[in-house]
């Protein structure tokens, strides 16, 4: 039902007794000028804010680049303890771009996750899954221990105590058949069943609802 309380006005400016109205005109020249000037201003502002904004947020959408990094011969990595290797995950910023990978050979007795070409060697990231401090492998206890808030991981990198929300992140590894060297690829996250997920930030569980609350990012390195 139309609103009859309001007096309906003609859409023609001539019928509304606006001075200087043209025949059949619905928008006065003054109003058109106002809209045009404000619109031109808005276009001019958008012309520099939108590119600047895109420039600032572009890294969110740029996929991280990576390359295989050789870390040693297969005999260097026993199955019963971890070797510490420094690898570079961010080139161009010196020491700050380096991180530690804890590497050992796969042990079928304890590594129950399905074997494929990328996990003949188990490479754990040193990044604690609570808030990202670097964990340290204590060989006497066969545990990874985080100095910041007391996160503890067992020999396989599964959470053994403290605040971490998921097992330690891992790196894809492969044995390069040409050089005979063990190589390390991009990082991936795992849930408590060691199912692979694309890399997530520390503190983000990927079990159950966590994998939907913390979706995969556009800029993390892809599968090898």
């Amino acid at each position: 039902m139309p609103d009859r309380r309001r007096e309906t006005k003609s859409k023609y400016t001539a019928d509304r007794n606006i001075p200087g109205a043209f025949e059949g005109e619905t928008v006065t020249r003054r109003r058109f000028m106002n809209l045009a000037a404000n619109g031109a201003g808005a276009v001019a502002v958008a012309a520099f804010t939108l590119p600047a904004l895109g420039f600032a947020i572009a890294p969110i959408f740029k996929r991280q680049e990576w390359e295989w990094q050789a870390v040693g011969r297969p005999v260097d990595f026993p199955a019963n303890t971890y070797m510490t290797k420094v690898i570079n995950i961010t080139p161009g910023i010196g020491e700050a771009g380096n991180t530690i990978a804890y590497i050992r050979a796969r042990d079928p007795k304890i590594d129950t996750e399905p074997e494929d070409q990328y996990n003949h060697f188990v490479a754990l990231s040193s990044r604690c899954m609570h808030l990202g401090c670097p964990v340290r492998y204590v060989s006497a206890a066969e545990r990874f221990i985080c100095p910041c808030h007391g996160g503890v991981y067992d020999f396989r990198g599964m959470v053994a105590g403290g605040p971490p929300v998921r097992p330690l992140d891992r790196f894809y590894t492969r044995l390069n058949q040409e050089t005979g060297l063990v190589e390390i690829g991009p990082r991936y996250s795992v849930n408590n069943e060691l199912v692979r997920f694309s890399p997530r930030f520390p503190g983000e569980p990927v079990d159950g609802i966590g994998q939907y609350l913390y979706p995969a990012q556009f800029d993390t390195a892809g599968k090898p």
Binding site: A56, I57, P59, I60, K62, Q64, I89, T90, G92, I93, G94, A96, G97, L131, G132, C133, C148, P199, R200, F201, P202, G203, E204, L213, Y214, P215, Q217, D219, T220, A221
Partner: protein
């Protein structure tokens, strides 16, 4: 709209009535002591700033105010101190993660004349500002000064608190030593814990998936350009509202109807 009378000039600045016999020393040429007055008059004739200045500086304040009412000004001066020392630290600082950031801070502390002092003022002044802004907030809260008609002043103040904390967070990374690096990593990861948009915000802060070559310059730009500009604008608006709305009386002060200093109600506009 009726025009309100300008607030009165303080006694010291009001023109003095002439004394009898003063005309004897009258000169036709300007005296050197009048040069300052002439300059101010010249400026004022062209800008008409003096009514605004008088409006800002010589306001009536309620009786019963105390030292707690100075916490806002104290926070303002902490901000000004951070701005000035920050601008001069920027002359020596290099936001280069590969090599330069940490070394340039070392250079400021060890070699530059008064460098350690200015750096120290900026570093400790940051904590001072955060303490003062929370004391100011507590004063406003406990005195009920956020109530009508000052709600917008309070809301802007809360935004300023958040921006101040963001300044503390982004500034903490800049010395680029071990503590700065790991504190920022932890802070960014805490931020990533927010569902859905947390990871994207952290990626924006990092400028990529990991701490990278542009993370430090990003923090630097946010710390010295983006947030200070926003804060300066908001502080200006905050102060405008404080001046416009006046300072609230302490909550324990009851209106006294017989007080000759309080004008009758109909005189209020």
């Amino acid at each position: 709209m009726p025009k309100l009378p300008a607030p009165p000039l303080p006694k010291a600045l009001q023109p003095k009535p002439k004394r009898p016999g003063d005309d004897n020393g009258k000169t036709d040429y300007p005296l050197p002591v009048e040069a300052g007055v002439s300059v101010v008059d010249w400026l004022d004739e062209r800008t008409a700033l003096s009514p605004g200045l008088r409006w800002l500086m010589w306001r009536k304040v309620p009786r019963g105010i105390n030292w707690a009412y100075t916490l806002g000004s104290a926070t303002l001066f902490a901000f000004l101190s951070q701005a000035v020392t920050g601008v001069f630290l920027a002359m020596y600082y290099r936001p280069d993660a590969a090599s330069g950031a940490y070394e340039s801070i070392r250079n400021i502390n060890d070699n530059v004349f008064l460098g350690q002092f200015v750096h120290g003022m900026h570093k400790w002044g940051a904590s001072v500002m955060i303490i003062l802004i929370f004391l100011h907030m507590g004063r406003v809260f406990l005195y009920g000064a956020y109530k009508y008609p000052r709600e917008l002043t309070w809301v802007i103040g809360v935004v300023l608190v958040i921006l101040t904390l963001a300044m503390g967070f982004t500034g903490y990374l800049l010395p680029f030593d071990q503590r700065a690096y790991w504190a920022s990593v932890v802070g960014i990861n805490i931020n990533a814990g927010g569902p859905f948009i947390g990871p994207f915000l952290s990626n924006f802060l990092l400028g990529g998936a990991d701490f990278g070559a542009t993370t430090l310059s990003r923090f630097y730009a946010i710390h010295m350009l983006l947030i200070p500009g926003l804060m300066a604008a908001l502080i200006g608006f905050h102060l405008y509202l404080v001046t416009k709305l006046g300072i609230s009386a302490p909550p324990w002060l009851k209106p006294e109807p017989d007080d000759p200093d309080i004008p009758p109600a109909e005189a209020e506009v």
